[in-house]
């Protein structure tokens, strides 16, 4: 709103003078203007014309990035492709993570996707069902050198739909328990051991002892969203949907008990940091590294963040073990080949380089994420950088000390997330009981699962 004054810039001088020469200058101005418009038009046409060369080697690679440092990491990999295959060049296109999905959707709708497309496991079913990527199995079958088993099981599953592999992962993250060692020492309680999950009772005990409401210190903080309730849900023996993905199972006694366990920390016992912000997706981790909270659950992607922003000693441990053991979810991202690429073979070669052990070692070293390949893990483990004993991440991913399952989503997960953030998240504010919240959520979830099944049927 607000008036926008249009002043004809540049035309001021000819008109500002006397009456002589005025008509001449108006014509000149019009000519100049016409030429200028034509010039801009040419520029625009030129810019739109680029992209998607027919030659076997010019590939576009779309990925998200939050900083120039991140982009530099991917650029290096793009250069590596060119070094190994001189006839293939890879052009990187990045936007922020939030914008990436809008952009991908619009590109898909206009059939203007890049050749190599980044994909997150949580969004894979939705986009695979909508034809964003092509199955990689045909390429794998013809290329025996590729070792698919080197990728951790949860990310292999996460980037597949059923048995069909659509992308190779570059990072994987199980949800872990972070703890603030300084606060534990201050309260005189032992920190959670790295090789054995503590029990739910012990966890609750710790949180109670760490809470000092007067000093605004709390035992636990968590992003108050559905996703972070899932590790508790699974450790309690519950789940959000059945294996056939046809029904929401949040109303089973195990599920309800597990959710009550978490929610009551916020609403009844007040041993979890109160929620003051519903719109900040990082409020959980930010509260943790402000140093006022004893424990937090999050993925290994926060190592860098917490390392830089905290001024206390911290460590990681597996998720606490509930009635069904210590079960956590793992999700990650990877790259696939688009369905509409003009150079699938070049894209395959490039993809192999980008997700090779060498490349993942580079991304791991840059702290870009816990590598999706077992062979690249040593590069991630830096004895000097916190946290200590980050080797437990591998143990969790290979189910040695805890269970890590791929976070399964549906083709309608976008809408499901919106519904959950609207109707489930308020349960942490204590306005509505857990049972009432689930009673409200379940019918909507069931409906979305039905739509999901309909989409799957249309595909086959």
């Amino acid at each position: 709103m607000g008036g926008e004054q249009r002043v004809s810039v540049g035309a001021a001088r000819p008109f500002a003078g006397g009456l002589t020469g005025r008509a001449m200058d108006r014509r000149d101005f019009l000519r100049l203007g016409g030429l200028g418009l034509a010039g801009v038009g040419l520029l625009g046409a030129g810019a739109c014309g680029g992209g998607g060369g027919e030659a076997s080697g010019d590939l576009r690679w779309s990925m998200w990035s939050a900083s120039p440092e991140e982009t530099a990491v991917w650029q290096e990999l793009a250069k590596d492709v060119n070094e190994k295959h001189p006839d293939i060049t890879v052009k990187l296109e990045t936007v922020t993570f939030d914008d990436y999905w809008n952009k991908l959707s619009t590109q898909l709708a206009s059939e203007n996707e890049a050749d190599i497309v980044a994909m997150q496991s949580l969004r894979m079913p939705g986009f695979a069902a909508r034809g964003a990527l092509q199955p990689l199995q045909p390429f794998i079958d013809e290329d025996p050198a590729v070792n698919v088993d080197d990728f951790f099981e949860p990310i292999r599953q996460g980037l597949s739909v059923g048995e069909e592999i659509y992308a190779f992962g570059y990072d994987i993250g199980p949800i872990l328990l972070y703890y603030n060692k300084n606060l534990f020492d201050k309260a005189g309680i032992p920190t959670p051991p790295p090789d054995e999950p503590i029990s739910w009772e012990e966890f609750r005990q710790n949180a109670t002892e760490l809470t000092n409401a007067g000093a605004r210190e709390y035992g636990y903080v968590m992003q108050p969203v559905f996703d972070f309730t899932v590790p508790w849900l699974w450790s309690g023996g519950g789940d959000y949907m059945n294996a056939a993905e046809t029904q929401c199972t949040l109303d089973t006694p195990e599920s309800i008990e597990a959710i009550e366990f978490v929610v009551s920390m916020f609403t009844k016992d007040k041993i979890a940091a109160p929620i003051t912000d519903l719109a900040n997706p990082n409020i959980g981790v930010e509260t943790f590294y402000s140093g006022k909270v004893g424990m937090h659950i999050d993925g290994p992607w926060q190592f860098i963040n917490i390392g830089e922003n905290s001024n206390f000693e911290w460590g990681i441990a597996p998720m606490p073990a509930g009635p069904a053991g210590s079960v956590t979810w793992a999700a990650g991202s990877g790259f696939g080949i688009s369905n509409t690429t003009g150079s699938p073979d070049a894209a395959w070669e490039a993809l192999k380089v980008i997700t090779s052990t060498e490349s993942l070692k580079k991304t791991a070293k840059a702290g870009r994420g816990y590598p999706a390949r077992k062979s690249a893990v040593p590069a991630f483990e830096d004895p000097d950088a916190p946290p200590p004993n980050d080797s437990i991440v591998q143990d969790i991913l290979t189910n040695k000390i805890a269970e890590a399952r791929s976070f399964k989503t549906t083709t309608t997960w976008q809408e499901t997330s919106v519904m959950l953030s609207r109707d489930f998240s308020p349960v942490f504010l204590g306005k509505q009981s857990v049972r009432d919240t689930i009673a409200n959520v379940k019918p909507q979830f069931d409906e979305l699962l039905q739509e999901h099944q309909e989409i799957l049927e249309k595909q086959s």
């Binding site: 709103m1 607000g2 108006r26 014509r27 019009l30 000519r31 203007g33 016409g34 418009l37 809008n102 959707s105 619009t106 898909l108 709708a109 986009f127 909508r130 034809g131 964003a132 605004r216 109160p274 929620i275 003051t276 912000d277 519903l278 719109a279 900040n280 976008q414 809408e415 997330s417 919106v418 953030s421 609207r422 109707d423 998240s425 308020p426 504010l429 306005k431 989409i455 249309k458």
Partner: protein
Amino acid sequence: MANTTRTRRSSIFQWRPKRDREGLAAVFFLLPNLVGFLIFTAIPVGAAFLLAFYDYDLLLGASFAGLENFRELFTTDKVFREAFFNTVYFTAVSVPLSVVLGLVTAMLVNQALRGVVIFRSIFLLPYVTVTVALSLVWKWIYLPDIGLINSALGIIGIDGPAWLTSERWAMPGLIIMTVWKSFGYNMVLFLAGLQNIPEHLYDAAKVDGATGWRRFLHITLPMLSPTTFFVVVISIISSFQVFDQALIMTNGGPGTATTTLVLYIYQVGFQSFKMGYAAAVALVLFAAIFIFTVVQFMFQRRWVTYD
């Protein structure tokens, strides 16, 4: 200024009669804005009108759905009803507050005191600041324990509510922030209106012994009514479209307490990718704003005095 069709031929502009020359020039001047308007506004709006009658998932393709979207909207969609009610509530409270505050401050800064220009600038400053930046700052102001407002309330012994996470106070929180932000624009418009009221009317009234309040009631308000009409219409239109604050400060929460119509369109269209349905909601929003505006224009004859 005679017709020079027969003389110089150095440009196409000389061939035609002067009337046509000026017409052509006008078209060229309008062309950039017109082309931009067509490409970025008119055509997309037209497309959205059409989309409202389709079931368009963006990636699964479009299938004609007739009035299905609207049927669902008006019968089974609880969130749409909430969003509509929230938007009306927001408008009904924020517009009068913003208009009145704008008028009061306009009258205050309408005096020829030294430095009054500084105050005009200060009052206008929130309006010209980016809403997103303001939303982020106001999130801190509304923090329950350590935020500015609750700390101030605490000093006088009031236990402030949990503002942005409270179902009852989240919307009032947004309203307060929006009124603070937008009254400056209204102030500027009212200021212009006030300064256009001829002084002699006041002089005559003073001579007749009218008190300040009566002068306000019988001279200022009627003479200002065209400005007031404009301010109210514009405020209502922009209030109906509130989005930035709802997204950044509360993301529509808690629950649906601050989900406004435009935020709902955003959620349905860009988070759930149901473009056809989102277009239907947008169409309903357009119709609502249109009806409100038409009604106001019809009533203006009753209360707006043009001299």
